[in-house]
Symmetry: C2
Subunit: 384 residues, 2 copies
């Protein structure tokens, strides 16, 4: 039996999600699109759904369906949702975009617009301009590296941090594999590395910052970030795949912290691993990190040890700067096997507004890490 | 230059992760396995990694490689990791299992064992026996339904909750699309639905519980769950894809709450959508929800509107009861388009230890929802 009709108080505001849907025919894609529109809202059989406001306004509305010219059997589908279905909470906004449909093969989130309530979020606190100002680097690409390997103690990691800072690396972050292990506990490591970077800055006049990895169990996360700040961190590295997306937003938003945030892709890779399912590179590494407050988004560049294509990387750059409410543009931060001899080639796609992330590659040139880092710095200084 | 060797204080304890890796040949799979072992730990080139403890103990160790007979070009690979690499935090444990490798196509987490520190977690507070005791249902399958559709006000949802409870549905949960929207705010809805279920219980003598959906922004989550408890909730519905996995563990673990937890798959579907990447159904819907404290795990059954196979569903059942530290077995809770006439067929796979989740199907029989629910109850009473 169809459920009883009710009047739903609605503003008329709607937001859009664009999906790429694989289907056998246009009739099939229209059916699949309608399935998504129901699944993401009422999750109820169409013939039982209350008529009136719920069937007409709450159920997603298929606004546009057109074939993608460059991909067979794939259509780009725009579905609009009532702003009230997501309400004011980021968790529910994600839920409406892709909650249950994430389970369906053949549906991929391409992009989304923001309802007013999401547009009211802060987005990146620093963004490109703010981070450039903080780092006194108005034009050139920024440099980033990761403290590793796992197993090193705080003293060894701090020595590396100091070397990187003396060589002029702007952002010296923990490797995302450093958490709170016995061999380099968070508090000991963060203090030692922050001190080392500050000391190097005092000598060189550079403005490097140390960004510890603060992903932690839910009930320790905020405390850890506050401790990081107290110990002298200049920014925070967060893995939303480990903490939840909104936990990153919470840290980015907290005025007691007020620190730039880098988003790391650990455990979210599965969203882009199938070309016909999941979430696009554009949204996953471009739009979402900005919505959730990240000033920079780390991802593996084409040509390294991961499989992203040049085009996928370019789409991440597009997502990092596309109009999205009044949110600031964020920095794309390509890494994943970067080497010194690829900087020039990478710049052709990334331009100047990029944070080059080089890990192992900074150890290849010779035994003097500060000297290796200075070579890297010299290369990008010329790109200003 | 290879980095300097250090001594790492290690206990010798190791845990194992089993991956299914797609490769062109046995030589190729051995290379890929070694790549995973480095990526998940030191994330450093092999020729630069410090010799001694780090290269020998911290870098993952490929323990076994053998071809899968039923899948072409796929090998099952066991890699062990030092317990200290994950330390004592669940977020870092997930990170070691699959952090960066989630980005790689062709590597799928099959299963994992727990280091002592993870085995010390509580796991499901109730588990199968505890939930059966709470619901006074020692043998038969349990019944669950979802309050919907989105757009209904608290009064309509509470009326439905009362109907379901009068008909004998054990677990009456919010649809995962109900959050804190204007048309049915969390506090108003949770109070109204909890009251309706308590009133019905008082009349019928049944022991139904209401489980509101408490996924919320990171800084509101605990508060929302505590409010749910105060308003009379008998359990909590959590989507770890929206909140982060450990946030669910935090709620399940909190003695002020002390409530059973159901895990909902919103936004984690992308992990199983590719057969050669992501995480197995066994781990994603079986092992992980238990590690993170869920007493029941919702997933779409074969034969509904999603695409899981019968075998994949059977593997989830296996994961819900496989030995995992001293953790209790959890309830598999298949849904996703279940109808009354499929109960018998589904029981052949799920047996008695299952929570049948029927949504729309409970509205099909006729206009009296309590009577429809009673039919469902009658069917499973015979399965005791």
């Amino acid at each position: 039996m169809r459920l009883a009709t009710v009047t739903v108080p609605l503003s008329g505001e709607r937001f859009q999600v664009t999906y790429d849907i694989t289907a056998a025919s246009e009739a099939d894609v229209r059916k699949r699109a309608l399935d998504v529109a129901f699944e993401q809202t009422v999750e109820f059989p169409a013939d039982l759904t209350p008529e009136g406001d719920i069937l007409e306004q709450i159920v997603g509305r298929v606004e546009d369906v057109h074939p993608l010219e460059d991909r067979e059997q794939t259509w780009r589908v725009v579905i609009s949702y009532a702003a009230e279905s997501a309400g004011t909470e980021t968790t529910q906004f994600l839920n409406v975009i892709f909650g249950n449909t994430s389970i369906q093969p053949g549906v991929r989130v391409h992009s989304f617009s923001l309802p007013t309530a999401m547009a009211a979020l802060r987005g990146p606190r620093y963004g490109r301009e703010g981070l450039r100002e903080l780092l006194h680097a108005p034009r050139r690409p920024l440099l980033c590296t990761a403290l590793k390997p796992m197993g090193y103690g705080s003293a060894e990691l701090a020595r590396l941090a100091g070397d990187f800072a003396r060589g002029g690396i702007d952002l010296i972050k923990d490797d995302h594999g450093l958490a709170n292990q016995s061999f380099a506990s968070f508090a000991e490591r963060a203090r030692a590395c922050a001190d080392a970077v500050h000391e190097a800055n005092a000598r060189t006049g550079y403005h490097s910052i140390y960004m510890p990895h603060v992903s932690a169990p839910a009930d320790q996360l905020l405390e850890r970030a506050l401790l990081a700040k107290e110990l002298g961190a200049g920014g925070l590295l967060v893995c939303p795949g480990l903490t939840g997306w909104d936990a990153m937003r919470m840290l980015a938003d907290d005025d007691r912290l007020g620190l730039p945030v880098m988003c790391h892709p650990a455990l979210i890779g599965s969203f882009t691993v199938s070309p016909t399912s999941g979430i696009s590179h554009y949204s996953l590494y471009g739009l979402l990190p900005r919505l959730f407050g990240a000033d920079a988004s780390i991802f593996p560049s084409w040509g390294g040890r991961f499989s992203f294509s040049r085009e996928e990387c370019a789409s991440i750059v597009a997502g990092s700067q596309a109009p999205l409410a009044n949110f600031k543009a964020s920095f794309p931060s390509p890494g994943g096997g970067m080497t010194m001899d690829r900087v020039q080639e990478m710049q052709t796609v990334y331009g100047r507004d990029v944070i080059f992330l080089m890990g192992g590659g900074l150890h290849r040139q010779g035994p003097d890490i500060a000297a290796n880092s200075a070579v890297f710095r010299e290369i990008v200084e010329k790109m200003a």
